[in-house]
């Protein structure tokens, strides 16, 4: 459908939010007690922040939960049975106020989960998701969306994108039928847009992702990897906060005879990730694992899935205990 532009006054946002909360789950960012920003289901509108740069964790969990059951089973040796998951129970969720980088990540995840056989768990959750994005009007030194081909007001992945105007009202751009349905249900809250200027954050481009991808084709054996990953301690923080990291583990958990098979987030930064039962590990040391992380996102994925595995949100660098700053590393890689 064609993009529709509307204006919504700041005092009308609460009305829209409460209307939405009444009929479905709304997942919105709030400030936690320790000043971190986290997303919460159906918070009070007063809690919801419009002034955050980035939440600590990404919002990929609405389509790819950190733990997700794949089936239930009973193990009776001879008469074991399987019970399927009822995917029709997946609720409708409105994602409120997530930034363009996060919203762009759904396409990336789709290229992983649906490239060959379709992963219905992911696909169903995405289908039930409506995204009301919020263009960034502020940024910090870790943001680098402009370096990966996005902007602080990229529209990709949003059903509706709100952009703040100078007076504090919001311009709502509606891109999809899903978004349109939300606007239509509260049409009294939306007005014709005026010509007021909108505030968009400035994010400086630090590298050119196409050049990085090109460089990486021949950089596998480069000493760069060891030299620049010495301080990496091999935790999974970067992967777990990342909106596009989708590697997972599958495990069984039983109590008595009943149990479930679930998948949970995993990280290529862990040595256990690739360890064979024989004891052989194809990626034995941390530099190899760090290389895999960068290669996967910036070389293998563009090559294989035709999507860059990074949206420039900068969470991995903010969350890293040892400042493995990804945009700095990519900048360096571009020039090796």
């Amino acid at each position: 459908m064609e993009t529709i532009k509307k204006l919504i006054r700041k005092q009308s946002l609460e009305k829209l939010f409460t209307t939405l909360s009444a009929s479905r789950k709304v997942y919105a960012p709030v400030f936690a007690a320790d000043k971190r920003v986290e997303y919460k289901y159906n918070p009070a509108f007063a809690e919801v922040t419009f002034e955050h740069i980035q939440s600590t964790l990404s919002v990929k969990n609405v389509v790819f939960p950190k733990v997700e059951n794949l089936m239930y089973y009973t193990n009776n040796k001879v008469d074991s049975t399987i019970t399927d998951i009822d995917l029709t129970k997946i609720p409708e969720v409105v994602l409120w106020g997530s930034h363009p980088c996060d919203n762009s990540a759904y396409d990336v995840l789709k290229s992983i989960f649906c490239w060959d056989i379709k992963d219905e768990f992911f696909a169903k959750r995405l289908e039930k998701l409506v995204v009301i994005g919020l263009a960034c009007h502020q940024s910090d030194a870790y943001c680098f969306c402009t370096s990966v081909g996005l902007t602080p007001n990229s529209t990709k992945g949003s059903d509706i994108l709100l952009s703040k105007t100078k007076s504090g009202d919001y311009i709502a751009e509606i891109f999809t039928e899903k978004g349109n349905a939300i606007v239509a249900a509260s049409s009294d809250l939306f007005e014709q847009p005026n010509n007021e200027e909108i505030v968009i954050a400035e994010v400086k481009q630090t590298f050119n992702h196409e050049q990085v991808t090109e460089k990486l084709k021949t950089a596998f054996e480069h000493p760069f990897w060891v030299a620049n990953s010495l301080r990496c301690i091999g935790c999974g923080a970067c992967a777990y906060v990342c909106p596009t990291c989708a590697c997972f583990d599958i495990q069984d958990e039983t109590k008595g005879k009943e149990g479930r098979r679930y998948r949970s987030w995993d990280s290529c930064g862990f040595s256990l990730f690739t360890l064979h039962t024989s004891g052989h590990n194809p990626r034995e040391v941390q530099s190899q694992r760090w290389r895999q992380r960068i290669m996967h996102k910036f070389s293998y994925m563009p090559d294989r899935n035709e999507s860059l595995g990074c949206v420039g949100c900068g969470r991995c660098s903010r969350g890293c205990p040892v400042d493995m700053n990804i945009s700095e590393q990519l900048q360096a890689l571009q020039n090796i």
């Binding site: 010495l230 935790c235 923080a237």
Partner: protein, 267 residues
């Protein structure tokens, strides 16, 4: 701090060490670990009050060890970690040169480990004041309040294991959580499993934690998990009069005993 740079340069030039581990400032202004192998590049080393990360964890990291002898910029927690690592036979004292930093930020000259030992002995070995105050506050709570506090905090855990990875004492090549026969700690993150993990971590660090607080700093979701190990560090002293990481031939608190260890709860 130019004298760290000078000392590092001297060590590298004389080939006394092949790498120096210290601190530098990253492009976003954050202090972070730095590894210098080239004597011409020691100028990037800095030292200020933000240099809090415990660098000792790199002494057992494969790629760092690989360089050969290591020089390491060491504040008190790092010195104590080094003592622990030597006493647990993870680091060979001949392989390291310690560039000690005093509490007021001055470069110390440690001719050998006995000098470092003397320095540690006369330092304040308790938990940092800020953390000790927080411990006292938590200890005042009722049992329900404590449980609620930790339940709430641990529900945030995403099992990224930054607490484990950042800890110099967590050097096991294969951690108990990585073993699945039996699966002590569930792979996925749920509050009960997270609690089990943090109990396991704290217990495995009982008598070994040197109160650097690195685990809590590393946590991306700000769980104060360092308080668990610090509480045990406190109690280790309380019961056994031992501070971890004071000498290179310290006996492990949890694998030794005294027949007259005092307790009041076993009937």
């Amino acid at each position: 701090m130019s004298n760290i740079a000078a000392k590092a340069k001297e060590l590298l030039e004389s080939n006394a060490v092949q790498v120096v581990i210290g601190y530098e400032v990253g492009p976003t202004g954050v202090v972070r670990p730095a590894f210098v192998t080239d004597s011409a590049k020691t100028d990037s080393f800095i030292y200020n009050e933000n240099c809090l990360q415990n660098l000792a964890m790199y002494l057992t990291k494969h790629e760092v060890k690989h360089f050969g002898k290591m020089g390491i910029v060491a504040t008190l927690p790092v010195m104590r970690s080094i003592m622990m690592l030597i006493s647990e036979q993870q680091v060979v004292s001949e392989n390291i040169v310690v560039l000690g930093i005093s509490d007021d930020g001055k470069l110390l000259d440690f001719a050998d480990l006995s000098v470092m030992h003397a320095h540690i002995e006369k330092s304040n070995l308790g938990n940092p004041t800020k953390d000790q105050e927080r411990l006292a506050e938590l200890n005042k709570l009722s049992i329900e309040e404590k449980f609620n506090f930790w339940e709430q905090e641990l529900s945030k855990c995403i099992k990224c294991y930054a607490c484990r990875q950042s800890c110099p004492m967590c050097y096991c090549i294969r951690c108990s959580t990585d073993c699945n026969q039996p699966q002590w700690i569930p792979v996925q993150s749920n509050t009960q499993g997270n609690l089990d993990w943090h109990v396991l971590r704290a217990m495995h660090l009982a008598g070994r934690c040197i109160s650097c607080g690195e685990c809590g700093r590393a946590c991306p979701v700000n769980i104060p998990c360092h308080l668990l190990t610090m509480q045990l560090a406190d109690q280790t002293y309380n019961y056994f009069k031992v501070h971890a990481g004071t000498s290179q031939d310290m006996k492990s608190v949890m694998s030794t005993f005294e027949p007259n260890d005092k307790e009041s709860f076993i009937i």
